[in-house]
C-alpha cells in the first residue's frame, strides 16, 4: 500500500478512535480534566514533533509575528477549546457515534463561512454534498428524538 494512503487511513482510524477513548475516560473523569489531559498530551506531542523535525525548532515559534499568531489563536480557541469542549460534553447526553457524525458535518459549515466571507461559488456536486450531509444530520437527530 502507498505510504500516503496508509497514513491517511491511520489518521482516520486515530481520529475515529480518540472519541471512544474519551467517552470511556469520562466515566471516571470530569469533563474539564479529560479535555485538559488530551490538550496537554497533544501539546507535548506537537512540541516533540517540532523539536525532532529539524529546522529551527521551538526557537522559531517565538519569532512568529503577532499578526499571524492571532489567526491561529482564534483557530485554537474555536477548535481546541470551544469546539472540543462542546463535542466532548455532548458525549454525556448522546451516543459517541451520533455526536461524532453530527460534528463531522463541519466541512459544510466551513463552505458556508467561505461562501459568506470569500464570495465563492458552489458546484452542483457541492450542493448535492451539502444536501446529503444535512439529510444525514436530520436523520440522526430525528431518530434520536423518537
Amino acid at each position: 500500500m502507498d505510504a500516503g494512503i496508509f497514513l491517511s487511513i491511520l489518521c482516520a482510524m486515530a481520529w475515529g478512535t480518540q472519541s471512544v477513548f474519551l467517552k470511556k475516560a469520562m466515566r471516571n473523569l470530569p469533563l474539564s480534566t479529560a479535555i485538559l489531559i488530551t490538550l496537554l498530551t497533544n501539546f507535548l506531542a506537537l512540541v516533540f514533533m517540532i523539536e525532532i523535525g529539524g529546522g529551527e525548532g521551538l526557537s522559531a515559534l517565538v519569532q512568529v509575528p503577532m499578526s499571524i499568531c492571532v489567526y491561529f489563536m482564534l483557530a485554537g480557541f474555536f477548535n481546541y477549546f470551544l469546539g472540543r469542549a462542546l463535542y466532548y460534553s455532548s458525549f454525556r447526553f448522546i451516543s459517541v457515534t451520533r455526536s461524532t457524525a453530527i460534528s463531522a458535518s463541519y466541512p459544510v459549515i466551513s463552505v458556508v463561512f467561505a461562501l459568506t466571507a470569500l464570495s465563492e461559488k458552489l458546484s452542483v456536486l457541492q450542493f448535492v454534498g451539502i444536501g446529503l450531509t444535512l439529510s444525514g444530520v436530520y436523520l440522526l437527530l430525528v431518530k434520536e428524538r423518537k
Binding site: T38, L46, S105
Partner: protein, 143 residues
C-alpha cells in the same frame, strides 16, 4: 432535555470546527509551517482551559479521577496526536485530493469501534448507520 442538549452541543461543536479552518487558512497563507500553527492554536486553548480550570475551581475534579479514566484520556490525546502527525505527513507525500477524503471517513471508524467496544451504552441501528454514511458521503462531495 438532555438529548436536546447533546444534539445542540454537537451541532455547535460542528460550527466551531467549521469556523476554525477559516482562521487557520488565513494564518497559513503567511507560509508558516502547519505544525507551528497547530502548536500556537493548541497552546492558546491550553491557556484558556487552565484559566477556566483555576477560575471555576475545576481542579477539585482531580480528587475523583481514577487511574483508568486518566489512562483513557491520555490514550485519547495520543490518538489525536497520531492523527495530527499522520495527517500532515500524508499531506506532504500524497495528493490532497486523496488524503482529505480518506481522513473524512473517521466517523465510520468511531461507529465500528463503538459497536465493538461499547456495546453496553452504544446502540447502533439502521438509522444511525444510514445517517452516518450520508454525512460522510455528503462531506466527501462538499470538500
Amino acid at each position: 432535555m438532555s438529548r436536546l442538549r447533546g444534539h445542540t452541543e454537537s451541532a455547535l461543536a460542528s460550527a466551531c470546527f467549521g469556523l476554525a479552518p477559516i482562521f487557520a487558512k488565513k494564518g497559513l497563507l503567511s507560509g508558516l509551517h502547519p505544525l507551528y500553527g497547530a502548536a500556537i492554536a493548541n497552546a492558546t486553548a491550553l491557556v484558556f482551559l487552565i484559566f477556566f480550570f483555576v477560575a471555576a475551581r475545576q481542579y477539585k475534579g482531580w480528587a475523583v479521577a481514577t487511574r483508568t479514566g486518566l489512562m483513557f484520556a491520555v490514550l485519547a490525546g495520543l490518538c489525536n496526536s497520531v492523527a495530527l502527525v499522520s495527517f500532515y505527513w500524508a499531506m506532504a507525500i500524497e495528493k490532497v485530493s486523496i488524503v482529505v477524503p480518506i481522513t473524512c471517513t473517521y466517523p465510520l471508524f468511531t461507529m465500528m469501534l463503538a459497536y465493538l467496544a461499547m456495546k453496553e451504552s452504544e446502540v447502533i441501528d439502521g438509522f444511525m448507520v444510514i445517517g452516518t454514511l450520508l454525512v460522510v458521503v455528503g462531506v466527501l462531495l462538499t470538500i
